[in-house]
Amino acid sequence: MNSELDDDQAVAMLRRAALGLPATQTAHAAAAATAGRRIRRRRRAAGVLGAGTAGLAVIVGVTALGIGTGNGTQIVVQPAGPAAAPATAPLAVGNDEANTAVLLKALGPDWQVAGSDPERGVVAGPSGEVSPKVGGAAAEALPDGYTAYARMMVFDAGGDDSMSLASLCKPFAEKGTVNAGCTEMPLRDGRTAYYAGPGPADGDQGGGPWSSAMYYFGRSDGSFVRIEFAAGTTAKRVSAAQQQKAIDWMARYKPALAAAVADEGVRPKPADTGSTPTAPTITDHDRDLVRMQRALGTSWTLYDGRLALEPNWGDYKRLPALPHGSWDVVGDITTIDRSAFDAACSARPGAAACAKRTVDGHTVYLRSWADRDATTKEFRGESAAYFIRADGRVVLADLELTSTQLEKVRDAGQVDGVREWLTSYDDELATAATDSDVIGSSSAGSAS
């Protein structure tokens, strides 16, 4: 046995351990940021949509113990009186009597505070929601088995970009949850409120039993007001006709709720100081990406103007295995001029030529390729669909694939697998390119 170490020697040994660790690479930061964006997206979706379903459960009488989503968002809680300073809490529903009164004034006399039961002397529920009175005209006009609620909250994101009005108004799609983005709703006094969904293909992409709409109003101090308005049922399945009837029912309240979200009676009032909020801008390109996301399916996520394959989800799993690395596939839809199309589709040595196909009566040109970069050893590939419109513009819907590998793994079969995977999207890309609702814009020139 060797001589006994003293404390200093033991600590010195401890401090010399594990100093030769592998260095940090740029890919580490990029991978963490990608994972962080996914967490942020899910928190945001959980905060907006999860709260909606929980609220609905309360209304239809299903026991709900809480609606906390744990998303960490700072929400301004209603102060006790007009003179009180806004207080902040990790998560709270900021909807007291003043805001409830604004909602009830907008929605009409056949609405009440959710949970009210005049016969039992209960005049207000704890959730801050309002709902149609049972047997009232509003409730009777809903599809059978449906109920609805509205709730107002005031948000102060405290500089968190992911909770800014501009961010929330951007089109968003992830794993079946779709928000097609905000549209402007000019108010009589010249101010502007913003409205998001629902449309026939919004809400749950799988045909969910509820529909949700959001009304926003940005305020001078950077805070914003949101009214969440939802109609739905606890039934697992609903018909398209029922869903459409609910959406039409919700549309009746659009002018009233747009005015309510900007009402001067909303509490807390904005702080006197602050800058004018930046109006959210949804570009034509944003809307085209929404259309393309629908064509590609739920494996594709649209977030902050970027349409990408969701990692480790759905179609990602059909890609060849990539040990110690990850695939990144980005989708885009733009218009190009005819000369660019001719250059891309003409058969050139070493380049993939376009194949001409007819899809739903439209002539589409398809091209896909995959290889491995000789220098970086990373995989790359592309799948593209071109559609020449009557006005001569060419709509290009394409996917670009790249790989990131911390260690390069040699596997000759992977290029073929990648090419096959890219080719499998021919129909979806053709659908996107020929979609008559696609406006067609240059992504570079229209980013908001």
Partner: protein, 166 residues
């Protein structure tokens, strides 16, 4: 002014190795140490501003990494997965000292190991260590003493050359 992503990349680049080292010494598994740190960074990215306002980004990552590493070492069965082929990810260079120190640290209880690493690798004082682990300062002091004593014994038994580290 640096963008959000640039700030984050700089934060990761400058601090990742440090936290990987802490996680590695606490949980003893390099692959899991990397995963733990990466998860902590992802959460920092998701709540960049909020975390800075509360406990600070370094404070958050340190706490998340240490707690996750303790958890890993307490419940190793959670991280076991069957694989047909052994992974060939990069691992730290075996410098002899690291192997001995890891072996010595593995003889400590997970909480005691975390106390020793925080006190002598992260150079936290007794109060900060107690706050991070949610234990009393008295416990930190006693765990430090017991941990060092155990390290001394194990390292004395297995060390190759005391003169290298004195």
């Amino acid at each position: 002014m640096a963008s959000y992503d640039e700030e984050f990349a700089a934060f990761v680049t400058t601090s990742r190795s440090r936290y990987c080292r802490v996680a590695y010494l606490v949980c003893g598994d390099w692959h899991h140490a990397e995963d733990i740190v990466q998860t902590a960074f992802a959460h920092v990215y998701a709540r960049w501003s909020a975390i800075e306002r509360s406990e600070g980004r370094h404070g958050y990552v340190r706490r998340a990494v240490v707690n996750a590493a303790i958890d890993e070492s307490r419940r190793p069965w959670r991280r076991e997965t069957a694989a047909a082929v052994l992974p060939d990810r990069p691992i730290p260079v075996d410098d002899g000292i690291t192997t001995q120190v890891l072996a010595a640290l593995s003889s400590l209880a997970p909480g005691q190991r975390a106390v020793v690493v925080l006190r002598f690798i992260e150079d936290l004082d007794v109060e900060a260590t107690a706050a991070l682990l949610g234990i009393s300062t008295g416990t930190v002091k006693s765990q430090t003493a017991k941990g060092l004593a155990a390290l001394r014994t194990v390292l004395s038994t297995g060390r190759l050359n005391v003169g290298d580290v004195a």
